[in-house]
Symmetry: C2
Subunit: 254 residues, 2 copies
């Protein structure tokens, strides 16, 4: 992508995986309430995601917005997700349409559908189980944070249908850097490695789509999220698999 | 229902249809920002839907909440639907759970799925067309009001899954009192007569369910919303049909 790509929430965990993995592949602009730690080679916009004027500046001449900003706490209080996640995402879409942005990639979450697990766990976390969510299902949030993410997906649906802007929702699994979460079956089933994360968002920047919901996880043997749609529309080709690690997070040697 | 039923937004159009049709059948409490005009035989709570203390009082010993309050304008600005419809509905669910309310009936809207019509109109409004929405589809809001209604449905999903409260979402069509909308095919296809509206909410108060999304329209010949789920789970038995009226809204005489 030759034109700038704006990364909101750039200092967060997903933003860090993207910057470390594909920071040189695109002309990124970074936006966050606090700048990332360490040296930054990119244009930086510091402020709140509901600050419309800041967003207008940050999105000028931008082709793609990767919208990660928001309260990331799964137990965040309603007032915070209402403002930071719901109102913030509406501001992003409103300004993106105004600034003729081509695509918005929205960081949704496994918590938008967390309550599908309730009556199915722990079997759902295991290899034998064939149950799969694929993004065509109605949301079943497991917390108010998940409600806010499902609402962000609906905002994207509206802005796509009404204004034609391309929208990709990535329901991100459990992102960790070096190995899958230790002793946490659920996290292993929805593991997303750093390199698969960076690759997935690289594909999200480059591929063509209308409105899509995909799951963002590695190619784990044990999984209850389908990655077929991400393969199909993004040519997502994950390299990692939590089954290649022991339950304790050590690489298998046999 | 022997226990009180709280009607929020009681002075609005749907609230009026309910009060006029089944006002004597249940012990209603009414809540609205402005009291209904004319004499009122019910307990009255006047104030804002985000006023938590008012809601706590109004829901004490209540078995069912029919939640109609909100900004009803399809072109309402985001700030208003964010506060009145999204934040207001979250407050209703939060207090309903706290006060051990059994059921919340949420007035959702055809605008939660309005963009399904975009590529299908005007054929979708006509008798020959077999396309039906049935409540299992993902939302496609036609405006920010519709976004707020789809978000209310998701809030209900969360509060049901998390706390067990029964939630019925009624995607209300085009409610008019004496005859279907004149010269408006879309409105005729989603017509809901006053008596069918009152009957539908009466069934919503009495029936047993977990979490449901149904369409609230009369049994119109021309329709693109299925009423099968409402018949099945609520024993909804509508008496009216827009096809019994001419296009101008006069009753057919032949």
């Amino acid at each position: 992508m030759d034109e700038p790509v704006l990364l909101t929430g750039a200092a967060g965990r997903v933003g860090t995986a993207i910057r470390e993995g594909i920071g040189e592949a695109h002309e990124f602009r970074l936006l966050d309430r606090e700048p990332p730690t360490g040296p930054v080679d990119h244009e930086l916009y510091v402020g709140d995601i509901t600050d419309r004027e800041l967003l207008e500046d940050a999105m000028e001449d931008v082709a793609v917005v990767i919208h990660l900003a928001g309260d990331p706490r799964t137990d965040a209080p309603w007032e915070s997700v209402l403002r930071n996640n719901i109102d913030g995402t509406q501001t992003v879409f409103e300004v993106a349409v105004e600034q003729d942005v081509e695509k918005v990639v929205f960081a949704s979450s496994n918590h938008a559908v967390g309550h599908y697990e309730t009556e199915r766990k722990p079997d759902i976390y295991r290899t034998e189980e064939e149950f799969r969510l694929d993004g065509t299902e109605l949301p079943r949030p497991s917390n108010l944070y998940g409600v806010s993410k499902a609402t962000g997906e609906i905002l994207g649906r509206y802005y796509h249908d009404e204004y034609g802007i391309s929208v990709l929702n990535v329901r991100i699994g459990n992102l960790t850097k070096e190995h899958p979460p230790r002793n946490y079956e659920r996290g292993q089933a929805m593991w997303l490695s750093h390199r698969d994360c960076a690759h997935l968002f690289d594909r999200a920047i480059e591929a063509e789509y209308g409105y899509e919901i995909v799951y963002g996880i590695s190619d784990n043997d044990r999984k209850y999220y389908s990655i077929e749609r991400a393969r199909e529309i993004l040519a997502y080709d994950p390299q990692d698999n939590s089954a290649e690690y022991t339950f304790d997070g050590e690489p298998k040697t046999d």
